[in-house]
């Protein structure tokens, strides 16, 4: 009769066997290959790489398959794998000015060197379900033009010439590493950006949206959004120079924000910055808005008490792996704690009743 928690081990095994069966789905439907996920669900793959902080489309696709399409679970798989990898060193900063852009748009200038390149975007599609896709996808072919070979300069560079946009202080200081040092507050901008780029897309989006709706509004223009591949280079000590070890796809967003000036800064445009693995447009724009909101102190702005200005609040809650783990841990047994609560509530009720009853008796 005392069976409450016995047999945990067998139960776990059986649950996992059932999970594996459910993951596969109906066996008369063809199984998804990792390559199919990588190629045809590439935006899911991108999100898993970005929030998993590991650039490997094949592993991300595998994680999505294993996670039954639950992206946060897939991100978790990637993070847990990532921590076991040895750290050989750090690459040189990537030069996004040399990006081979698939897409590059500016909302602030109608035209600029490098032009406006729409690239493969959902923008201007009508969101009508394409029922033809349910029957046959076909192999669509897009028209091609000769690729641009020269570098595409950043839009904000053109504003810099006029001294009308705030200058980013340059520094040769090695930035901290979020995955190697515990987060402490107040933090630094490099750490904030690291935290935001791996932060939950939904959370960062919500925070960014709140700034647009007036909680620390900073009126952002998308100065530039660019998506494309950049070379990753690393200094090899034995060689004495840097070599290219591969390339990664990135989305970079720089916002240009209205700024009336403060006690310390003259009126000028200010910037927010977003940089995310893969084609992750929504995330990089959101990241730039939140980055800008978090810079209030550096720019001498007022703290309006808005959530998006609150570094400790934003950074402590942006990580979906931390959040989901802690949220879901309340499923674990809490018999002991609940038992002690039961006893306390019974005791308090008993005492309260004793206090009330004699009074009634007197009446």
């Amino acid at each position: 009769m005392y069976v409450a928690v016995k047999g945990g081990e067998k139960a776990i095994e059986n649950a996992h066997a059932w999970l594996a069966e459910e993951r596969r789905g109906a066996p008369d439907v063809a199984e998804l290959s990792v390559a199919q996920i990588r190629e045809q669900l590439s935006l899911s793959v991108n999100r898993v790489m970005a929030e998993g902080s590991l650039y490997d489309p094949d592993l991300a696709a595998l994680a999505i398959k294993q996670a039954r399409g639950d992206l946060i679970e897939a991100i978790f798989l990637i993070r847990a794998y990532r921590t076991t990898l040895p750290r050989f060193g750090y690459t040189n900063p990537v030069a996004t000015g040399n990006m081979a852009c698939d897409r590059r748009i500016s909302a602030t200038f109608k035209d600029a060197p490098g032009g406006q390149v729409l690239g493969p975007t959902f923008d201007y599609t009508h969101r009508l379900l394409n029922f033809k896709l349910a029957a046959e996808g076909g192999d669509p072919i897009a028209p091609e033009a000769a690729p641009r070979t020269e570098p595409t300069p950043h839009i904000t560079e053109f504003l810099k010439g006029e001294d009308i946009i705030q200058d980013e202080p340059t520094s040769d200081e090695t930035p901290g590493d979020l995955t190697r040092e515990p987060m402490e507050f107040p933090s630094t901008r490099p750490l904030r950006l690291q935290s935001l780029t791996r932060g939950d897309e939904g959370f960062v989006l919500g925070m960014a949206y709140s700034t647009q709706r007036g909680y620390a509004r900073n009126h952002a223009f998308v100065g530039e959004l660019r998506i494309g591949k950049v070379a990753v280079e690393m200094d090899i000590t034995e060689l004495g120079f840097a070599i290219e070890i591969g390339e990664v796809e990135l989305t970079e967003c720089e916002t240009v924000n209205q700024f009336k000036g403060s006690k310390t800064e003259p009126p000028q445009f200010t910037r927010g910055y977003g940089l995310v693995f893969g084609q992750s447009e929504r995330k990089s724009i959101a990241m730039a808005l939140v980055d800008r909101a978090l810079r209030w102190e550096e720019l001498g702005e007022d703290n309006l008490g808005a959530p998006a200005q609150d570094e400790e609040f934003v950074l402590s809650h942006a990580d979906n792996i931390q959040a989901t783990g802690f949220l879901e841990h309340i499923k674990l047994p809490h018999y002991v704690d609940f038992q002690s609560e039961l006893e306390l509530v019974r005791k308090l009720r008993r005492e309260a009743e004793e206090r009330i009853t004699p009074k009634e008796a007197a009446e």
């Binding site: 945990g8 081990e9 792996i321 989901t324 783990g325 879901e328 002991v336 704690d337 006893e343 308090l348």
Partner: protein, 286 residues
């Protein structure tokens, strides 16, 4: 699982964690920040305890894992299996035989010795967190020994409910200095925090490690006129008859009949093996 290092974590990471543990032991009750790693189990499911255990275990150790006092609760099973696979250490359910015990929410009933290490899983290491949500503030409060807020909270409990209305995770003062969260152990366990064994606390998600060295003074916060009270259900164990152990309450039938059994399954088992019998011991055997 030879693809992974002994006890899963790489040696560099273990060294970093050991440094944090040593610092924690040197400054009892102080929360040492450490660069917690992502583990293959979720945050909030014992990643802090698992990292501390991984950094503490040697191949000669015998490991025991309990959750809610029991060796066979699902998450305890899962963590024990993890170390069986990644460290290959001997495991046991017997408290006396273990050299390292990882626990969630309980201190074993059997008295621990100086040859043992008790590793706690901690969800929220900051005892002041629910009074002040900001880490920047609470660290300052600890630095200045500014614990007035906590006493005000306990006082408000008394004025509202006539008693300090904590049931688990009752705050303690360690070695006369730091106020510490003993993790969500029931109040009943608080007096046991003064023990011969080393006590290590790991909070993975919150990136904190803290410790209570052996024979350290640990005082549960209270007032002279409202002294701390270690409470438990007012019953003996229905299986082993123990009057001194913390009890789980089980609902037995649709009529809502209850039975009370030791939450420490090993304690209950060893008492029954020694011939002790509770009210329902005969029925259980049947």
């Amino acid at each position: 699982m030879s693809d992974y290092n002994f006890a899963y974590l790489d040696e560099q990471t273990k060294r970093m964690i050991r440094r944090a543990i040593l610092k924690g032991l040197a400054v009892p009750g102080y929360q040492v920040p450490f660069a917690s790693r992502e583990m293959p189990m979720p945050y909030g499911w014992g990643t802090g305890g698992v990292q501390v255990s991984a950094a503490t275990l040697t191949p000669e150790d015998t490991f025991k894992v309990i959750d809610q006092g029991a060796d066979d609760t699902t998450n305890a099973v899962s963590i024990r299996k993890f170390f069986e696979n990644t460290a290959g250490v001997a495991t046991t359910e017997e408290t006396e035989k273990a050299t390292v015990i990882q626990t969630r929410h309980r201190i074993p009933e059997a008295e621990l010795t100086e040859d043992q290490i008790l590793v706690y899983q901690v969800p929220i290491p900051e005892p002041l967190r629910f009074l002040e949500p900001r880490e920047t503030e609470t660290r300052k409060m600890h630095a200045l020994e500014e614990y007035g807020l906590m006493h005000v909270k306990l006082y408000e409990d008394i004025s509202q409910h006539g008693a300090i209305s904590t049931s688990y995770a009752h705050p303690v003062r360690v070695s006369g200095r730091y106020v510490m969260d003993p993790s969500p152990i029931p109040k009943f366990d608080n007096p046991k925090l003064e023990m011969d064994a080393i006590q290590l606390f790991g909070a993975g998600r919150e990136q904190r490690i803290y410790a209570v060295p052996p024979h350290t003074k640990v005082v549960s916060l209270d007032f002279e006129d409202y002294p701390f009270e270690a409470t438990k259900a007012d019953h003996p164990c229905d299986l082993c008859g123990a009057e001194d152990s913390y009890l789980d309450e089980l609902i037995m039938d649709d009529a809502g009949n209850r039975m009370f059994v030791c939450s420490d399954t090993d304690y209950c088992r060893s008492r029954r093996a020694a011939g002790h019998e509770g009210r329902l011991a005969k029925e259980d055997a049947a």
